[in-house]
Structure formats: structure tokens, C-alpha cells
């Protein structure tokens, strides 16, 4: 059945469809391809060995052995409440986890985040003790810490825009700021 013994070391991106046996699936991650905007409707005919049937069987097995947990489905349905067209979205502009190189030997480096909505930025530092942040340009604000559709804590930013919270956010979190008649919500993140 599997004939192509000659195909040792077939590259991952090779269009050749032989059954490469060179351990190609044990390599590192493929580079991020440039052609990700391909049309993507990659329907194809399955060969005589019935790979399409096998894939369907796998799909069935996943539905039985590893389905989306019901409670997660419910949470996703409820997340519709987070859809708020009136609030300005403060997008993540800096995340130390992604944009900074790790500090050697410092495992407890705080997570530094910067969110930006137009001219307003919100800096947040998440530590084991809680969170510290500042709204810039400096301005007072009422701040809700969200852990889902419902607020989990309320904070206040002083005249200099500074705020502190004594509970570190766990899991998904966002901040909803009310300042000078407008509402700004930071992009959801997991910390």
C-alpha cells in the first residue's frame, strides 16, 4: 500500500504527495508562510485508500472523546453580553510576554501591558499582589475589572490617572474605564 520508500526527507511544504518516510513530521515548526491569504477552499478528492473516510471517523471520535465541554459552550453563548458597540476598544499595543525579551533568572517578572484607544493609553502591570496602572494623558476614571460578562472588582484612578487593585486578575480579564463621559474597554487577555 504505502509505496514511496524513496521519499526520505520530503520537505513539509513539498506539494509532492508521496508517502514520505523521512521523519518529516518530527521537525520543528514550519516558518510562517507568506501565502496565508490563499483562497483556502481546499476541497480535494480523496484517494482510493479512503483518507476522507478515516478523517470522518476521527471527527466522530473527537466528538465522543474530546468534545467542547458544555460549560464552555454556555460561557461562549453568554459572552454575547460583552458585545458593546458604544465602548471604545483599547487595543493591546504592548505585551511584555510577547514584545520583551525575558529577564534572566527573574521568573516573577510582572506582566506589563499597554492598551491604546486613540490618544488614550492604559498601562497595566500585573503582579502576584494585584495590579497597578495608569491612564494617560492623566485623568480620573472609574474602572471595573472584568473576569467575564460580570465585573469582579471596582477601582478608581486618581487625578494623575493612577490606579491599584489588590487582587491579581486570574484567567481572562479586561478593564472597563469610565472617564469624562466615555467608556473605554481594554482588549480581552489571559494573564
Amino acid at each position: 500500500m504505502s509505496g514511496g520508500c524513496e521519499g526520505h526527507g520530503v520537505p513539509f511544504d513539498d506539494w509532492d504527495d508521496r508517502d514520505g518516510r523521512g521523519g518529516w513530521d518530527d521537525r520543528g515548526d514550519p516558518g510562517d508562510g507568506d501565502d496565508r491569504d490563499g483562497d483556502g477552499t481546499g476541497e480535494e478528492t480523496d484517494d482510493a485508500s479512503g483518507t476522507g473516510v478515516l478523517e470522518a471517523e476521527l471527527r466522530q471520535a473527537a466528538a465522543i472523546l474530546d468534545p467542547v465541554p458544555a460549560e464552555l459552550r454556555r460561557i461562549a453563548v453568554e459572552a454575547y453580553a460583552l458585545h458593546d458597540l458604544d465602548a471604545r476598544l483599547a487595543e493591546l499595543a504592548f505585551d511584555s510576554l510577547q514584545d520583551a525579551s525575558p529577564v534572566r533568572g527573574a521568573d516573577d517578572t510582572p506582566r506589563m501591558l499597554t492598551f491604546r484607544a486613540g490618544e488614550v493609553t492604559v498601562d497595566v502591570e500585573v503582579t502576584e499582589q494585584g495590579l497597578i496602572g495608569q491612564v494617560l494623558p492623566p485623568r480620573p476614571a472609574r474602572i471595573e475589572v472584568l473576569g467575564g460578562p460580570h465585573a469582579v472588582a471596582a477601582l478608581t484612578a486618581d487625578d494623575r490617572g493612577r490606579f491599584t487593585g489588590d487582587t491579581p486578575p486570574a484567567g481572562p480579564f479586561a478593564l472597563r474605564l469610565r472617564t469624562g463621559g466615555e467608556v473605554i474597554v481594554t482588549e480581552w487577555l489571559r494573564v
Binding site: 500500500m1 513539509f12 511544504d13 513539498d14 506539494w15 504527495d17 508517502d19 514520505g20 521523519g23 518529516w24 513530521d25 518530527d26 521537525r27 514550519p30 508562510g33 501565502d35 496565508r36 490563499g38 483562497d39 483556502g40 477552499t41 481546499g42 484517494d47 485508500s49 483518507t51 478515516l54 478523517e55 476521527l58 471527527r59 466522530q60 471520535a61 473527537a62 466528538a63 465522543i64 472523546l65 474530546d66 468534545p67 467542547v68 465541554p69 464552555l72 459552550r73 460561557i75 461562549a76 453563548v77 459572552a79 454575547y80 460583552l82 458585545h83 458597540l85 476598544l89 505585551d95 510576554l97 510577547q98 467575564g148 484567567g171 481572562p172 479586561a174 482588549e187 480581552w188 489571559r190
Partner: protein, 191 residues
Amino acid sequence: MDRADVGALVQSAVDGDAAAWKALVEGLSPLVWSVVRAHRLSEADAHEVYQTVWFRFAQHLGRIREPDKAGAWLASTARNECLKVLRTLRRLTPTADPAVLDRVSEDRTPEESLLDSEEAAAHGERVRRLWQEFEKLGDRCRRLLRVLMASPPPSYQEVSAALGIAVGSIGPTRQRCLRRLRARLDTREVL
């Protein structure tokens, strides 16, 4: 999920139709879950990433530039969050190798016990064996097949967004991986 349908549902959800949002969750949460599972996070991390992705989707609902590609948006958001989790783990436990990370997610879901019921035993045995052989595949095959197993089947564009691989490489790799899995199953049957 059909792209035209997804685009229309996103538009309806933006306009306030909660049923449309629910349909999006039903249609696309298996894809999000598959992406998370493909990255083999711990149970707790998997749940948090899944939630973060849906919270952020709700937040971005009216701002998504190509609503018919919402599936790809969800898949790539899920991938990014998974990579952040893996980066944190690597930072906190410098010695962690992939094998250690793999072990974290080895607890199977309680649904597996469903298969123990007598009427499902015969079919269950086959499904279990298929799953076992699937789990023994190399990383790349396991990851790709886990994403392809989403129900309804994802488009190649969604798969590309989920794994950061070129659309053109998906078809050939899929064929190889499924043939490889088929070969493993055949070998076991002969023994």
C-alpha cells in the same frame, strides 16, 4: 461552517440578534476547541484560552473587517493565545521539554467512560483504538489532524490560521498523516 453563512450571522449578531450569536458559537466553538487541544495545553489553560478567545470575539464583533472569515479570525486568535501560554510555561519552567508539557494534558475527559457502557462497547473499542493511534502520531500530524477534526470541517484557510502553516501545504500533509494513521491501524489489526 459555510463562509457566507458565517458572514451573515456575524452581521446579524452585530445588529443585536442573540440567536445569530448562538449559532456562531454552535458552529465555530468546535474549531476553537480543536485549536486549543492541538496545542496540548493543560485543562485549566485550555479552558481559559477558549474563554478569552470568545470574549475577545464578542468585543471585536462590530469591528471585524472580513466577517465571512470570522472562523479564521477565531482560529488565529486561539493560536496566538496558546503560544503565549506555552511561552509562559517555558519561562516559568526553563527545563520543561515538550514531553513534560504533553503529560499535562493526558487526563482524558470523563466522556471516555461513556464508551464503557455495554451497548457502545464494540464501537467504542474501535473509536478508542483509533484515538490511541492518533495520539501516537508525531507532533505535526497530531496537531494538523486535531484541527481538521473540528465539526463542521474547517476550511483550509481556518486550518492555516490555526497552525500558522501555508494553505498549500495542508492538503499533501493531511494525506500523508491520514495514510500514516491508516498504516498504524492496519499493522495493529494484522498482529
